[in-house]
């Protein structure tokens, strides 16, 4: 999936124009998890909104892909239980697919539970199942783990790796955390405020699909060392983080 020459300029109330995205181009390989690593305020959320069609770009080719966005606060409906949330996205789902989705996100036995007062992890699982229900070409995750605790974060990273392995769904994760990007994705795209042209990228490969094994592997340490330097050159703010 190629996204080319995406531009976005914001005009403030005082008439000031700020070019947030300047001719950005990048490629996301189908069936893979790609991370868009960028510090806060560099425009990654705007980019994701453009890709999902929630916001219009000034110019460029966003590829008109059927994309589903999951915001940083997972948007499950608290007045619907797990099944109703999934069916809201696609009420034509048959029972078997519905059960498969519930199984994929690890919510078996919770079909009648409501997300109200439940953990962010629970709501994230619902949001993923609901996104999968519309059978998108790509799922866009906008910093979904930022507010999660370490344990939940690791569980969710594992969920993404497993999902990608089983369904071959293309996932683009926008994050400001290098470790998240390294553990979960096959490709990392680096972006900073004022990035222009093709975004630089780095390939990541592990022998294991288990997140804990990946964390303890020598490959992870090597990737961390090599990417850290590159990532830091892209960090424009303190908000850029390395460890989980």
């Amino acid at each position: 999936m190629k996204f080319e020459n995406i531009n976005k300029t914001f005009t403030y109330e005082n008439g000031l124009n700020v070019k947030l995205l300047d001719d950005i181009s990048f490629e996301v390989k189908e069936g893979e998890v790609t991370s868009l690593l960028a510090s806060t305020g560099s425009g990654k959320s705007t980019l994701l909104k453009i890709l999902s069609g929630l916001e219009l770009e000034d110019a460029g080719n966003r590829n008109e892909t059927k994309a589903c966005i999951i915001p940083s606060q997972p948007s499950s409906f608290p007045w619907m239980n797990v099944t109703e949330n999934i069916l809201f996205a696609n009420d034509k789902l048959d029972d078997q697919t519905q059960k498969k989705l519930v199984h994929l996100v690890g919510l078996e036995g919770y079909e009648n539970h409501y997300p109200n007062n439940k953990s962010l992890g629970f709501r994230f699982r619902i949001a993923i199942a609901r996104a999968l229900a519309v059978n998108p070409k790509i799922i866009l995750l906008d910093e979904p783990f930022a507010a999660m605790d370490q344990k939940t974060k690791l569980e969710m990273l594992q969920l993404i790796v497993d999902l990608n392995k089983e369904t071959k769904t293309t996932i683009l994760l926008a994050t400001s955390n290098l470790s998240e990007a390294l553990l979960v994705s096959q490709t990392i795209l680096f972006m900073k405020k004022g990035s222009t042209g093709n975004l630089p990228s780095e390939k990541v490969e592990y022998s294991s699909t288990n997140i804990s094994d990946r964390m303890n592997s020598s490959s992870y340490s090597e990737y961390l060392t090599s990417s850290e330097k590159l990532a830091k050159s892209f960090a424009t703010h303190q908000s850029f983080t390395i460890s989980l």
Partner: protein, 244 residues
């Protein structure tokens, strides 16, 4: 639980002080009647002032206005939400805030010469406008990401199943707060304009300088407001249990 226990304790102490002070130490005074007179008033107001019918008229008007306005909003939710989203509804509705309610009461009373039906319609209108203002405010707060999954769905489904449901807790929360204001408005209306209801009874009691009856009616009103609050809270817990 602790706060209601404290309230009960404070109320018990105040009642005890009132009994000791006004029954035994200051039985004849211009401020409060003797507790025994108050007790007798409790028994007499029902017959002397036809309090039961007055109570039914006032309570009926207030809670019918709240219930009917909510039902009206619910029935026409798709149309109203669509309308509110198409223009700056909140700004227009905020204009009503600056109109003095007392002026509206006097004008309605003047135009309709204290007609009971006019009072009911007045109560419904004022409740409907207040609830609409909250709905418009809630609609402006809903983020597009929240309904991102429904972008390809029928807009009517999004209006009725997302926008309405997301606003419902705030609407019922307002109903709880607004009923106290509506009590004041309707009592004032009855006090100045009609010949039925608790406001009219209070006017009569004031004319007869019957302080005991005024206090008794006030206590009954406080109990009715408390009962109204408990009932709406119960309804909210059942039909809008999630956070707004």
């Amino acid at each position: 639980m602790n706060s209601s226990r404290n309230n009960f304790k404070i109320l018990s102490v105040l009642t005890f002080v009132y009994i000791i002070l006004f029954e035994f130490i200051l039985p004849i005074n211009k401020f409060l009647p003797k507790p025994t007179i108050l007790f007798e008033s409790f028994l007499h107001v029902w017959q002397d002032y036809s309090l039961l019918s007055g109570m039914l008229i006032t309570t009926g008007t207030i809670y019918f206005a709240i219930g009917f306005s909510l039902i009206l909003l619910w029935i026409f939710r798709v149309f109203i939400i669509k309308l509110f989203l198409s223009f700056q509804a909140l700004e227009v509705l905020q204009l009503f805030k600056s109109i003095p309610v007392f002026l509206l009461i006097l004008m309605t009373a003047f135009w309709f010469d204290g007609l009971e039906l006019a009072k009911i319609i007045f109560a419904i209108l004022i409740t409907f406008i207040s609830l609409s203002r909250v709905l418009a405010k809630e609609l402006s707060r809903i983020k597009p990401e929240y309904i991102a999954v429904g972008m390809n769905l029928n807009p009517q489904k999004i209006y009725s199943e997302v926008y309405w449901q997301a606003s419902l807790p705030s609407l019922l929360e307002l109903a709880i707060r607004f009923q106290r204001i509506l009590w004041l408005i309707i009592l004032t209306y009855e006090f100045v304009a009609t010949s039925f209801g608790m406001g009219t009874i209070m006017r009569l009691a004031l004319q007869y300088k019957d302080l005991g009856a005024i206090i008794v009616i006030g206590i009954i009103q406080a109990l009715l407001i408390w009962l109204g609050t408990v009932t709406i809270r119960f309804v909210k817990k059942k039909i809008a249990f999630w956070e707004s």
